[in-house]
């Protein structure tokens, strides 16, 4: 017996490993129960690393960007181009930060306005597998999250919590083939069932062919599934095909349009009426404008009216050179090599950006 085992040791262990896992799968499928312990171990081991990576991401990307900028500037060896390039990148960074701040602000505004009780969460990783439509968020049962809770953003519904771990939760996205939710159309209040297809587009099933649904129409949650409260935007209809006995309706989820970073988990959902207008027209909080004398200069001074203050230092420099050139009758880009350059040290009267009187002597020809 011992020699038999030694001879077929590998294949025996293989069969045992396969058998054990088959039993594991069968147990879960038959009882509709999860082997929670193993999942908790893995998630607890992996999520802290993902959190640290997420925290380091902002800092490291900034470092890499700055390094590349400095490297390129050194190679170009031109003071002005370096300055302009750096300022442009700074401008982009600021715009990105503003965009992130806008999203966070929109989420905070939505959270404060919605009657539902919510908890904000950040997506920290996606589920394993090439066709996975599951994401993990950094809030778990410690924060009051439970299995089956709805996950939304101000743009629309995102999915539902399928497992709540102590410090993280897995969320089944609405694009997953296993996902389903009750929805209702905005205009005709036609009820249907939203289903994921494993692609970015979802479909709405069980809409009778005689009902009227048009492309461009919005769908909202109906509340019939007891997961999503009534009145949350789902998406816009992209295509409607007539079929028997039900229509084929394709819907583009609105929450997925700009990627997923921050979401809200509905701890206690409150039903809302279906709005009359599409969600893009929903009011968004905008603060009062600053006083007129402290107005910020326009971001794009190239399109600003003459005399308007310039935006960045590079823009001010550009406007100053333009005025100096105009004052001496010089047209940039038209001079031949070796021709006399304009005097850039010329002091112009008045603020930068305003057209100055020509400094060319009477009867003198403009230099080309």
């Amino acid at each position: 017996m011992e020699s038999f085992f030694n001879r077929y040791r590998s294949i025996t262990i293989l069969l045992l490993a396969i058998l054990a896992q088959l039993v594991l799968v069968a147990f879960q499928v038959k009882n509709d129960r999860d082997v929670r312990m193993i999942r908790v171990w893995t998630v607890t081991a992996v999520t802290p690393v993902a959190r640290i990576a997420e925290a380091l991401r902002g800092g490291s990307s900034g470092f890499i960007r700055n390094y590349v900028v400095l490297h390129d500037a050194h190679e170009e060896n031109r003071q002005l181009q370096e300055e302009v390039g750096r300022l442009k990148l700074e401008n982009n960074d600021l715009k990105n930060e503003m965009s992130m701040a806008d999203r966070a602000k929109a989420l905070a505004v939505f959270q404060s306005r919605t009657p539902s009780k919510t908890v904000a969460a950040t997506v920290i990783m996606v589920g394993a597998g090439t066709s996975s439509k599951v994401v993990f968020v950094d809030r778990g049962s410690v924060s009051g999250v439970e299995r089956g809770m709805a996950v939304v953003t101000p743009d629309g519904i995102v999915g539902k919590v399928i497992t709540a771990y102590p410090t993280a939760s897995s969320v089944l996205l609405i694009t997953d083939p296993d996902f389903a939710a009750g929805v209702v159309s905005q205009k005709g209040l036609v009820h249907g069932t939203l289903k994921g297809q494993g692609t970015p587009i979802c479909r709405v099933d069980y809409v009778p062919f005689e009902e009227k649904v048009e492309p461009g129409e919005w769908f909202y949650t109906s509340g019939a599934d007891r997961i999503f409260p009534r009145g949350f935007p789902v998406g816009v209809v992209k295509a409607v095909r007539s079929a028997q006995p039900f229509k084929e309706i394709l819907v583009e989820p609105s929450a997925m349009a700009h990627g997923l970073e921050d979401v809200l988990i509905l701890i206690a959902g409150v039903h809302q009426p279906i709005p009359d207008t599409p969600p893009v027209n929903q009011p968004v909080f905008i603060g009062s404008p600053p006083p007129a004398d402290t107005m910020k200069p326009p971001d794009n001074p190239g399109n600003a009216p003459p005399g308007a203050p310039a935006g960045t230092e590079a823009d001010k420099l550009r406007a100053q050179y333009r005025d100096i050139g105009a004052a001496q009758g010089h047209k940039f880009g038209e001079g031949t090599p070796g021709s006399k350059a304009p005097d850039f040290n010329l002091k112009l009267p008045g603020p930068v950006g305003t057209p100055a009187a020509p400094a060319v002597p009477p009867g003198g020809a403009a230099q080309r």
Partner: protein, 177 residues
């Protein structure tokens, strides 16, 4: 082991030397592969086609030439992947167990330092992985998911190309003989 461009079958037992790796490599590399799979597609969605855990299992099974070691590594990595997905535990575990076992079996017979062999094996095991998972999902879970052959072939090729580079990098972590 010196690379031979002439033959791809092992002509003697001496050629099939077992590659050894430090313990930390055996722990950190599979964990990093799993983290790559769950974290990187969050920002670079197009990289979600990469099956890094599978490639790591194939590599270690091929190079260590231990069937038991290969199947155990495959089972552990597969179960970890299952834990981070909505699958019942064991689905990817079974598939990766088989991949680990068969990759180690192949490693006993072929010159797995040969780049062409590596490319073909990475391609083959990706297809095997995808097909067997589809088969299990169909048979055990009753999922009616279509098996997209063309897409799987393209993804298999992409994974195999990435696998060549990954294997080359992991070669540097081997213990000197």
């Amino acid at each position: 082991m010196s690379y031979s461009g002439e033959h791809i079958l092992l002509s003697s037992q001496r050629e099939g030397q077992i590659s050894r790796f430090p313990a930390w490599v055996m722990l950190v590399v599979p964990l990093a592969a799993i983290l790559f799979q769950v974290y990187v597609p969050l920002f670079f969605e197009f990289l979600s086609f990469l099956e890094m855990p599978l490639l790591v299992v194939v590599y270690f099974a091929l190079m260590r030439r231990s069937q038991v070691g290969g199947l155990l590594l495959g089972a552990l990595v597969g179960l970890a992947q299952d834990s981070l997905s909505k699958n019942p535990l064991g689905m990817l575990g079974i598939v990766n167990t088989l991949v680990g076992y068969f990759a180690a079996s192949v490693g006993l017979r072929l010159d797995v330092d040969h780049p062409l062999i590596r490319l073909l094996l990475a391609f083959f095991f990706f297809l095997f992985h995808q097909f067997f998972y589809w088969l299990l999902a169909h048979a055990l879970l009753g999922q009616q998911v279509a098996f997209e052959i063309q897409r799987t072939l393209v993804l298999g090729l992409l994974n195999a190309v990435v696998g060549i580079s990954l294997f080359h990098f992991l070669d540097k972590l081997r213990k000197a003989a």
